[in-house]
Subunit: 61 residues, 2 copies
């Protein structure tokens, strides 16, 4: 897993080496929009989702 930096994301050449690109949708409210998530929080979400899908797939096998 490669995480993009909080401000600028990934470099183009890094992106081009990835098998898949995913984006975590972020919310806004009347005070403005989130521009990025803290990278450790985003990594936790990514690992949570990977574990969720693997557990589901294992249950279906």
């Amino acid at each position: 897993i490669i995480m993009g930096s909080e401000g600028e994301g990934m470099r183009r050449l890094t992106m081009e080496s990835c098998d898949e690109l995913v984006y975590i949708p972020m919310s806004g409210n009347e005070h403005g929009n989130l521009q990025s998530l803290n990278v450790s929080v985003a990594t936790g979400m990514a690992l949570y989702e990977i574990n969720r899908q693997r557990t589901l797939a294992a249950g279906q096998a």
Copy 2:
């Protein structure tokens, strides 16, 4: 959402006020087991899952 503290979790009286209690499963490997997740990371996972379920439910409505 109430998050338990990283070491000791929630106080009993706090727990008793909750509608539901959830636990994030954690992995271990040959170097040992994770004892707790950073509370901001755990909160990100919880919000990610809430958003995932709400988006699913909205799609089915």
